[in-house]
Amino acid sequence: MEAVIAIAIGIMFGAGVWLILRPRSFQVITGLLLISYAVNLFIFIMGRLSINQAPLTLGEGAIDPSLYADPLPQALVLTAIVIGFATTALYLVVMIGARGLTGTDHVDGKEMDK
């Protein structure tokens, strides 16, 4: 389980890094999406893995925190997901705006001379 998650984070992060180093703006936005998945998962696993222990304190009586998943990383990641959407939208608009203004989708706004 742990190994699978760790490898998955690595693969998503690696793919994202490869993409944000590419010259086309669409590649960069894809890379940023993949990196944000990886980072969100990475923050999430700071609370360790737990199955069938959702942080819902439905029972009566005293609460034993060790029986539940850690809610703090979850709250952090939840806001991170929503903010991630907002920044993606901003990047997208800047991306298509730059494309309209410069006539190219290169990240520098001009084609690199080869």
């Binding site: 742990e2 894809t30 925190p65």
Partner: protein, 971 residues
């Protein structure tokens, strides 16, 4: 209180003046003059409070405001004799300059700006002289530099004005920075920035090891401001300013700030050999260089500028000599110089104004046409030259006496320098008044005549002062001067007498020598040396301060651009590469890696989960591979990764995250799909028979290595974290145990968001709202690339019956009718689901974020199938209002806590019993969550709809361009 008023009046006046109409010359002048005059009256009245002190105990008027009391800094205004004298000077000359400027400024000049800057300068200069706190003094000091910059550059269409302004600002502001450091050191030595304390601890300062650096830094500030050698070069270039500015700032007041500072700090800093060497040395060089250079100027104002430099040098030298009598002479000469030099500048301005030129090679015989002005200017220049019965004579006499006193002890060089300076100043004064004699010049740009009555009035008044002070010094200026002297020297105040006649003595002989020598030098230069033709200053032209300044500036900027070229790039990719490499390298270098890790798998293995992530990994890698040439495929693959991440969250006990991730995934995909249309078509190189170059292969393999290393590091770190047990006693336990009892909800994640950490959430929804509005604003100015304007090829395909139809026509002709009806029926159900998620959010997975996204998706699918036009015809959605109400609700919930005396955003749970429904919990966090819901709905819809509207807009615009394209495709 009056002191504060003194500074506030010009500040307020400056703001009022800036708001007046351009052609309100009279009103502006009345305002500025009135303020200066009232200030003058206040200052004159204050004399009754400070002038009564006994000898050695001059009274001080103080005003204090708390500024940063924790740091021992207070806003202190403090007027003693010295400050009083300078305030009178500033306000008195200020009134006259305003009157003069009213007639000097042409109707075409934007006067509000002029008077506004002038008043701002007056305020800052008063601030300098009245400051009772050293830091505050430096602040006002820099403000005078700034206003001087603005005033020199007043005619900003002229290159010389801009250059002069820049030069003056660079030099004086650099000096100001040195002064700041010096003052900070001084404050450190003394332990307080209060002037009273600093003045009282002279011995402590002089004995301190930091004395020399402090002195040098403060001297740098003072010497740059007062245009002392080797920083004197900025003053002649500042003459590009309008003449009233030159008269006010660059002869009477601002350049005196440097000597004022030296006088101010005289009790604490002077009296050491270093002081004499630095201050006196600079003064001596300036004195001679300025006077000598002045003779060879052709510009009237240039001559006066160099003469000002020389006279400032004289004052500085007197201060450098350091004896109490020299201090008296310095103070007296400051006053005298201000009167005669301001009047000379105004006279020069009149000549320039009336004849159209300031070039002394052309000006000739002006006495015939400007008899009054000429008489006044001649008297003032006589004062400058030090002719008896005028004020300049008296202070110069005192200077000679001091030079003798210093010189006789060692040698005669000081006295010789003094006489030499006297000779030079007589020569340049003659040069100046020469423009009035001889036959009237015929080649002047304008026919000169006497200026208006009130333009001459300030000159008349100042020249009258020169005369009165020159004839009866003891009765006119004596008591005031005495007050100023006492305030500086205290018990050291020497006996001195201000009198015209001291009997036959050496200083008188020196004066006579200077007068005679000056006349002879001038005649010799005129007849033998060709003064009129000379284009450069003999001997001194080699030492060109301006040249040094320019080349220094050039070197600084060229080395800066060289550094930028070497160390930076404007390209994104190298920057990102560097960032990621550092991100990987720095932690690896700091911590000892791998060896710390223990590879022991202690978790159980689930084949289903592994299979899920095989799919996820394939999607991620394939997305990376396809993102360049197959954007749609890449987008779908990224969506696939998102779904896998969402399932992972669900699997690992995070139902809230899973829901949010799923909804965000949907919205993001729609968002990017809307954006794809505006990107250029890209065809794979294989179809174009292109091959990648070696360079791009190198780049790709390099990036591949970086990416693989990055992924590997991330995996290792993640694994290292996962195989360790969770820390015991983390803050999470607190949240877990109190969520239900104190937050009133059993969904701990939601309680965290809307209760425990709701201030963070408030910040987050504010960010969301800002981003949405930014996106909207950016898209309002969106200009697509020309080739993406026509309808995309996919839509013009003639297999599709809807091709060629506008979206409106498509809707009317029943295009996609079945799914549209189906989705319309789904809308209420989706809204109910959103409401359900929202209501149960506090106790079960759900909440404002998820509900908001669900609601937004419900609306978006209507747009997708019904078309923008149809949806907006049937639904009045105003996303801006959703955002606004959401934020207001969230903030109001927070503020509501204040009504009950709790801190911002304190929550409360109300228990209500309703009929039928029974008892329900209504936490205030629920209302906060409603705000979150509103902002999320508004932002998401606003972003997507704004983007969708771009397609509608571009369809609407170039109909004529699209039609032929469609026809061609159809054929």
């Amino acid at each position: 209180m009056l002191l504060l008023l003194l500074i506030l009046m010009p500040v307020v006046g400056s703001i009022i003046a800036a708001l007046m109409p351009t052609n309100a010359r009279n009103r502006e002048a009345w305002l500025a003059g009135g303020i200066a005059f009232v200030g003058l009256l206040i200052t004159a009245y204050l004399y009754t409070q400070i002038g009564t002190g006994e000898l050695g105990t001059g009274d001080v008027v103080r005003y204090q405001l708390e500024w940063m009391p924790d740091y021992g800094l207070n806003f202190i205004l403090r007027m003693d004799g010295l400050a009083w004298m300078f305030s009178m000077l500033i306000l008195g000359i200020g009134v006259l300059v305003v009157i003069y400027a009213r007639y000097y400024m042409s109707a075409n000049d934007p006067v509000p700006r002029f008077f506004s800057f002038l008043l701002a300068f007056m305020a800052s200069m008063l601030g300098v002289v009245l400051s009772g706190n050293l830091i505050q003094l430096v602040v006002f000091w820099e403000l005078t530099s700034l206003t001087s910059f603005l005033l020199i550059g007043y005619w900003h269409h002229r290159a010389d004005a801009r250059r002069g302004a820049r030069m003056a600002f660079t030099v004086t502001a650099t000096g100001g920075l040195c002064l700041l450091v010096g003052v900070l050191m001084l404050g450190h030595i003394v332990g307080s920035y209060s002037l009273d304390v600093v003045l009282a601890s002279g011995d402590l300062i002089r004995a301190h090891p930091w004395y020399l650096p402090t002195l040098i830094l403060i001297a740098l500030g003072a010497l740059t401001k007062s245009a002392q050698f080797p920083f004197h070069f900025w003053l002649p270039h500042a003459m590009a300013a309008p003449t009233p500015v030159s008269a006010f700032l660059h002869s009477a007041t601002m350049v005196k700030a440097g000597v004022f500072l030296l006088m101010r700090l005289w009790p604490s800093l002077s009296g050491t050999p270093e002081w004499t060497l630095i201050i006196g040395g600079a003064g001596l060089c300036t004195l001679l260089i300025g006077a000598f250079t002045a003779i060879f100027q052709h510009d009237l104002k240039g001559l006066l500028a160099y003469s000002t430099i020389s006279h400032l040098g004289l004052i500085t030298l007197l201060l450098g000599i350091g004896t109490p009598l020299a201090m008296v002479a310095a103070l007296f000469h400051t006053l005298n110089h201000a009167t005669f030099k301001a009047s000379l500048f105004m006279a020069a301005g009149i000549i320039d104004h009336e004849s159209g030129t300031r070039d002394m090679r052309h000006l000739r015989g002006l006495f015939k046409v400007l008899p009054y002005t000429a008489t006044l200017a001649i008297v003032a220049s006589a004062a400058m030259a030090g002719v008896p019965l005028l004020n300049g004579f008296l202070s110069k006499e005192m200077f000679f006496a001091e030079a003798l006193a210093v010189g006789s002890a060692r040698n005669w060089s000081m006295s010789a320098a003094a006489v030499l300076m006297g000779i030079f100043s007589v020569a340049y004064s003659l040069r100046f008044i020469n423009v009035f004699f001889g036959p009237l010049a015929t080649d002047l740009p304008r026919a000169p005549h006497e200026p208006p009555r009130w333009m001459r009035f300030p000159v008349e008044l100042l020249v009258l002062c020169c005369l009165i002070v020159g004839v009866i010094p003891g009765l006119s200026v004596g008591p005031f001067l005495n007050t100023a002297v006492i305030s500086v020297l205290g018990e050291q105040t020497p006996g001195y007498s201000l009198a015209v006649w001291h009997g036959f003595n050496l200083p008188l002989l020196m004066s006579v020598m200077a007068l005679g020598g000056g006349v002879l030098l001038y005649i010799w230069l005129r007849t033998r040396h060709g003064l009129i033709q000379s284009n450069r200053v003999p001997f001194l032209y080699r030492f060109n301060g301006k040249q040094a300044y320019e080349s220094t500036m050039l070197r600084i900027s060229s080395s800066a651009s060289l550094l930028e070229k070497l160390l930076s790039t404007r390209r994104v990719q190298p920057q990102l590469l560097l960032m990621i490499t550092l991100l990987l390298a720095v932690p690896l270098l700091i911590v000892r890696p791998v060896s710390l890790l223990t590879f022991s798998d202690n978790g159980e293995f689930s084949p289903l989960f592994a299979g899920l992530w095989v799919i996820g990994a394939i999607c991620a890698v394939a997305a990376a591979w396809q993102a360049k040439y197959h954007r749609l495929a890449a987008l779908s693959l990224v969506g696939g990764v998102g779904i896998v991440v969402s399932i992972t969250f669900l699997w690992l006990s995070a139902p809230d995250l899973a829901l949010t991730q799923l909804m965000v995934e949907t919205v993001t995909t729609v968002l990017i799909l809307l954006g794809l249309r505006w990107l250029p078509a890209r065809i794979t190189p294989k179809e174009l028979n292109m091959r990648a170059t070696r360079l791009s292969w190198f780049r790709r393999s390099r990036d591949m290595v970086v990416a693989v290393v990055a992924g590997l590091c991330m995996s290792i770190v993640s694994y290292a974290v996962l195989v360790r047990s969770a820390p015991v006693g983390s803050i999470s336990d607190f949240f877990m145990t109190r969520a239900l009892s104190e937050g009133g909800g059993s969904n701990v994640v939601n309680v965290l968001l809307v209760d425990f950490r709701n201030f963070d959430t408030l910040g987050e929804i504010a960010v969301l709202a800002v981003v949405a509005l930014t996106v909207y604003a950016l898209l309002r100015r969106f200009r697509p690339a020309p080739e993406s304007l026509p309808i995309p090829a996919q839509q013009t395909n003639n297999v599709d019956p809807a091709a060629g139809q506008t979206p409106v026509q498509q809707v009317e002709s029943g295009y996609l009718m079945v799914p549209a009806v189906y989705l319309r029926m789904l809308l209420p159900i989706m809204v109910v689901i959103a409401a359900y998620f929202f209501i149960r959010g506090h106790n079960l997975p759900g909440g404002g974020f998820v509900a908001g996204l669900t609601f937004a998706v419900a609306i978006i699918v209507q747009y997708m199938l019904g078309g923008t036009t149809w949806v907006e015809k049937h639904l009045r959605l105003q996303p801006h209002r959703w955002i606004a109400f959401g934020l207001i609700i969230a903030c109001a919930t927070g503020l509501g806590a204040w009504l009950f005396g709790y801190p911002f955003l304190t929550t409360h749970t109300a228990h209500m019993t309703l009929p039928i429904l029974g008892e329900i919990h209504l936490p205030s966090a629920f209302i906060f969550d409603l705000g979150v819901f509103g902002v999320v709905v508004g932002s998401t819809i606003l972003i997507l709809v704004a983007l969708a509207h771009q397609s509608v807009r571009s369809h609407r615009l170039p109909i004529s361009n699209i039609a032929p394209v469609i026809n061609k495709e159809a054929n």
